[in-house]
Each structure stands twice: as C-alpha cells, then as structure tokens.
Amino acid sequence: MPDKQTYAEVFQSRGLSRRDFLKFCSLTSVSLGLAPSLLPKVVHAMETKPRTPVIWLHGLECTCCTESFIRSSHPIVADVIMNMISLDYDDTLSAAAGHQLEEVRRKIMKEYKGQYILAVEGNVPTKDDGVYCMVGGDSFLNVVKETAADAAAVIAWGACASFGCVQNADPNPTGAQPIDKIISGKPIVKVPGCPPIAEVMTGVITYVHTFGKLPELDRLGRPKAFYSTRIHDKCYRRAFYDAGMFVRGFDEESAKKGWCLYKMGCKGPTTYNSCSKIQWNAGTSFPIGSGHPCIGCSEPNFWDKGPFYTRLADVSFLGTDTNADKIGVVAVGAAAAGAAAHAAVTAMKKKHHDEASEK
C-alpha cells in the first residue's frame, strides 16, 4: 500500500464502487450537519487529500473508546476509516509492539511534524511524577507532552480524556487529569462519552480530515454537530415526560410500557450527546431504549453526581444520603426553631420588663 493514499483510493483498492464512495461522503456530511452545498467539498477532499496520520495514545483508561470505534456502524466504513486516517500508532491495535512501535511513533512525529493528529484515549495521572501509568518505560505524562508538542490538533477521546471520568472521581488517588489540563496551546476537540458513539468518533475524524481544521466547538470544547442538544431533547420517551407518565420502579407495569425514566434518575435532561439521535450499534438502541436511565456518561464528573438512580445527587462532603432537599429542609427547620426560640426570649424579656415597670 502506498504511503499516502486518499480515501477514494482506499475505496477503490477494496473493490468498492464510486457510487459507494459518494454514498459514504453524503452520509458523512449529513451526520456532520453540513449543508448539501458542501458535499462536493467533502468529495473533493476525500479524493485528493492524502490520509491524515494519526497517533493514538492510550493512557489511564479501559479501552472502551477503541472498542466503540472499531464497531462504527457499517463494518466496511469502519475498515475504510481505519485505513483512511493512517492510524500509524495505536498500542492496542498495532501488530508491532515494544521498542519497534515506539520507534514508529517517533518516526511519525518527525516525518509529519506539525501535521499529524494526536488522539488521546484515557487521561493522565499526574501524582508522583505520573508513575501510575507507564508506557514504554516512560510516564504517560511525558509521552503525551512529547507527542503533543508537534501535533496539528488533539482529539480527546471519551469522558476520560475530555473531563476525567472515573479515574479523577473523588478522591482521585492518582491525580488523574483530563488532556486539556496537560496540554496547552493546541486546538483540542473533546469527544466525551463512556465511550463516545462510534459514528461521532468517525464523524469528527472525517471532519478534521476534510476541512483540515477542528469542527465548530461548543463552550465546553465539544463538536456542536453531535453535542449541541441534550439526550432529553430528542428522546423518543419525551411524550411520557410531558404527560407526566413516569416509571417509578423497574418491576412496575410502567417500566414495561416504556414510560419516561425521569424519576429513576435519568440524566437525559442534563446530558449533551447524540445517543437519542444516532443511537448505538448501527442504530439498534441506546440505554433509554433498553429501559435504563441515562447516567450522563458524557457529562463532566458524572461519577460524582451519584447515585445514578435518584434525581438529586448526594452532597459528598456531608456524607451519603444528604442531598439538596435534605439540606433545605434542615435549614428551614433551623430558621423556624430559631424564630421560636427568639420569640420565647422576647416574651420573657417583655414579661420581665412589664413586671419591672409595675413595681
């Protein structure tokens, strides 16, 4: 395989027709929310631009992002994307290992200086010089910094790299930090989710490849095309929410009927992601679709907003079982008790005063 193939050439070499290629291009532009007028641009880029070299690093993580990514809805599309982007370094997917693989990473960094994309899966433990995650004999902290130095852009895959996920949940024993706390001065796109949806991942890569820049990002650094609306906004159970028909227990008739999971602690109303739109596993289903409330896995610090099955999170520093309402009720109770006590003292004082004036 020549070193710098274009997307179109990859399709061709795999025996796919031009029709398939154009279908792929239009599907991608639709999923990116691009105007139809931009389709020729996508096709042109796919035909002419050489594949973008990508270095994919794995830090403190569970590899669920990779697992999701390799299941991108259409197997052939997934295959093609893997070939298109020229995934030159990925410790979990590469055939090579050890020093050989580390050599490849350095080679890419040198040959494509300032052109390659750094994709980071997992986050970076910073405590004790980063000893809690060692890759190839060096701390992951150093590897990330070294690799990011000459990258064109950085993609933070998943909740870990974007916001921290379970590793930096309270009390964060390894001092794990998301990528944007480690790297500065590089364009970073966050693709949160635990894991992110496969089509979202391929969509982001396609956009970067096509336009040579990061997609439009929202205020938290996520691509607007996929993270601008909440799961709740496009949830197929929304009608039950508006009607006030809620599931009150998993063993109830209402759960069987597929009513709204709001009362079961569903975080859909506060979670920005495309699950209710694109869904998972080639549009098969998504958590709410299979009767489980959304746990908000693409939101910052979602592990610390527990328990998953209640609407109001515990206030951790006051211990479990303390939430906003309990604090409120205690405060109002204290106000009432204080008022009563003050009233009693006032009455006593008045009585004392009256007695004094009678004398």
Partner: protein, 228 residues
C-alpha cells in the same frame, strides 16, 4: 395601650405591588419547582401524546419565572431611579465601613437581646436591609440567571443561549447548574420564615402595624406605654 401619634405613608403603591407579585411568584415558583424536581402525582390515563400534565407544571414555572424577573427588574428600576426615600437603594452602602457602624451594631445588639430598647426605623432597619440584599437581591439574581441559563438550553444558539450560555461552563455542567438552582431555591422558604417572624415580632414589640403596612402602605407611630 399606647395612643396613636402619627400615620406615616411608608410603602407606596409600586412597592406594595412589587411585594405581593414577588410573594405570589416565589410561592408559585417554589411549589412548581419542587414538583418539577419530584413529580409525585399519579400519571394520567390514556395516550401520552394527548396529555400535558407535567408540561403544564413546567409551563407555569417558566411563565411565572418571567413575571418574577420582570417584577424584579421593575423594583430595581424603582430602587435606582425613584425619589421614594423608603424604597431607594440610597442609604444602603455595605461597601462603606461607616454603614456597618453604630446603627447596624445597635440593631444587631437589639436582636440579640443585648440592649433594652428597640431602635425604631420608619423604613427598613440596617439589618433588614442587609437581609433583603442577601436573600432577595442576590438570591433572586442568582435564581434568575441560573434559571435563564437552563431555559436557554432548550434552544441552543438562540438569544438566551447567547446571553446566558456562559453560565453553564461556569458551573461545570448542566447538572451542576440544575443542582445549584435547586439548592439555592431553599433560601426562599428559609427567608420567608425569618421575614414573617421579624415582621410579626416588630409589630407586637413596636406596635407599628408593620404587618398591615404592606397592604395599606401606612405605618403607625404609637406612644410608648412606659412614657404614657
């Protein structure tokens, strides 16, 4: 019983109107807000698409929230630009050490039973002014800003999103924003108790008819019994 010496017109109509719109708005917002957080009523019968039970609670909450906001801005305008000496911000200067001086300390001492007599004010006493500032001014501002930021989430890229979208990253996430709005809402029932207690107590101790003054506008100056 002390003789009525003087009737003073303290709370002008705009102030009284504001007070009651504010009171009813807060009551409605608190009730609908708690219901939205925890919908306890039984579900309706029939097809979900024809029912809007929960949507109505939210509709009322948002509608009243805009009345509350408008009313708040109207009071703010009145406080800044009117010549109503009892309703203006004029005398409230917490940034100046002088404001925390004798009148404030005397009032605190009186509330703590450290003084025999009760300082008498026609308008708000300094402690009341501070409490109103913290709970009503800061509290309402917080609820309005966080509320509008959450309302803006319904329409990404819209006007409210442009105006209040910055609030969400400030809190870290949409969930935190909702949580903050929920927990800070509790200051209103808290303050309601403190407020009502203070009003009833002053009415009994000073006999200034402060309770009815928010309806009639008039406070009474009563002859001190001891002096009579």
């Amino acid at each position: 019983m002390g003789r009525l010496i003087e009737e003073i017109y303290v709370w002008r109509l705009p102030v009284r109107l504001y007070h009651w719109i504010n009171a009813f708005s807060i009551a409605a917002l608190m009730i609908t807000g708690l219901y939205i957080a925890s919908p306890v009523l039984n579900p309706p019968h029939g097809e979900a698409v024809w029912r809007h039970n929960f949507a109505m609670w939210r509709y009322v909450h948002f509608g009243v929230a805009f009345i509350f906001t408008g009313n708040f801005l109207y009071r703010l305008y009145y406080a800044l630009f009117s010549d109503d000496r009892y309703a203006r911000f004029g005398g409230f200067r917490p940034w100046s050490p002088k404001w925390w001086g004798k009148p404030f300390k005397e009032q605190v001492a009186s509330y703590l039973f450290l003084r025999k007599d009760e300082p008498n004010y026609v308008g708000h006493n300094p402690v009341a002014a501070l409490a109103h500032f913290i709970f009503i001014f800061c509290g309402s501002t917080f609820m309005i800003v966080t509320g509008l930021a959450m309302f803006a989430e319904n329409r990404p890229g819209g006007f409210l999103d442009a105006a209040f979208g910055w609030v969400l990253p400030l809190f870290g996430s949409s969930y935190n924003l909702h949580y903050a709005h929920h927990i800070v809402a509790w200051i209103f029932p808290f303050y309601l108790i403190v407020h009502l207690y203070a009003v009833f107590r002053h009415d009994i101790v000073d006999r200034t008819s402060v309770t009815s003054s928010i309806i009639t506008g008039y406070k009474h100056k009563v002859e001190d019994e001891a002096a009579a």
